[in-house]
Amino acid sequence: MEDRVFAQFADVLALDPLANRAELVYNEYPGWDSVAHMTLIAALETEFDCMLEMDDILDMSSFAKAVEIMQKYG
């Protein structure tokens, strides 16, 4: 699960495979702004073949939180 989620982050944010996942925080990590966030949501929805709830989109404030949220859909 974590690697599936990270693969989408890596693709959208152009991350190094060895990037520190704990540093991935919305609006703090370079490049993870609101535009990238919606692109990331679309990538996750495609990967997990789902449509996220609005609350989950707004709550997805870090990589760790994203993994936690995607557990519901994966």
């Binding site: 949501i41 929805e45 609005m54």
Partner: protein, 252 residues
């Protein structure tokens, strides 16, 4: 050469799609090959019958969602239904609307809430749900049905005019934000169109309104649907953020 007005293989959502202008749009998009998901506020039998008829007549996939567009859940259900049907969403027509006229000082709060809820908040909810689904497919067309009253205002229509003007602002804002995602957003501003609403008017009132229409006739739902078809199609691939009147040159 491929038919540029064909919607074959595309999926469209039409809110308020069972009557009047919405019905004409549902039928026209289906007739040009689009699969359709139709929304109705309450009349499930009507939506079910229409979905079945369009599928049989035009050989497209159809489905429907019963729900009030004033609530975000309805737009969410429509987007989910579209994805469930075809794994895509190409066209979203924010058509559902209500009219509660009243002179200034005599409009109750519940009418304000209802008109703003359906006519404006419904468009915002629909735009959010549509944009999310469309970006996964690489683009799409959102068509908002406003009104001539949203452009010029009208006596006795304080709230309706405000809500429909709000639709124009939402259209322009969404067009700017979504253009980089290849999602076009345009608005149609119909004038005096023959629907259930206008059918309630007395003959002399209709004649009075027609006198103010340069083309000298009441508009038909198909007049609006024809423009919706164009905006939904690849023919309009370079058009976004526009408000186009379908009013026969009407003066208000």
């Amino acid at each position: 050469m491929a038919d540029p007005i064909s919607l074959s293989g595309k999926l469209a959502v039409i809110t308020g799609g069972t009557r009047g202008i919405g019905l004409a749009i549902s039928e026209t998009l289906a007739a040009h090959g689009a699969s359709v998901v139709i929304n109705t506020h309450a009349n499930e039998a009507l939506a079910s019958d229409l979905a079945r008829r369009l599928a049989t007549t035009y050989g497209v996939e159809t489905d429907y969602v019963v729900g009030d567009v004033a609530f975000a859940q309805t737009a969410d259900q429509l987007a989910r239904k579209a994805f469930g049907l075809a794994k895509r969403l190409d066209i979203y027509v924010n058509n559902a609307g209500i009219m509660r006229d009243g002179l200034i000082g005599m409009v109750p709060q519940q009418d304000v809430d209802a008109v703003i809820g359906v006519n404006l908040e419904g468009v915002i909810h629909g735009t959010q749900a549509a944009a999310r689904a469309m970006r996964r497919g690489g683009g799409g067309s959102i068509i908002n049905i406003s009104s001539i009253m949203g452009r010029v205002g009208n006596s006795g229509q304080l709230v309706y005019s405000a809500a429909k003007a709000g639709v124009l602002g939402a259209t322009k804002a969404a067009a700017k934000e979504l253009a980089p995602l290849n999602i076009r957003v345009n608005a149609i501003a119909p004038g005096f169109i023959a629907t259930d609403l206008t059918a309630q008017l007395a003959a002399d009132k209709v004649e009075e309104k027609v006198r103010n229409i340069a083309i000298n006739r009441v508009g038909q739902p198909q007049d609006v649907a024809n423009l919706a078809l164009f905006l939904a199609s690849e023919m309009a691939s370079y058009i976004t953020g526009q408000v186009i009147g379908v009013d026969g040159g009407m003066l208000v």
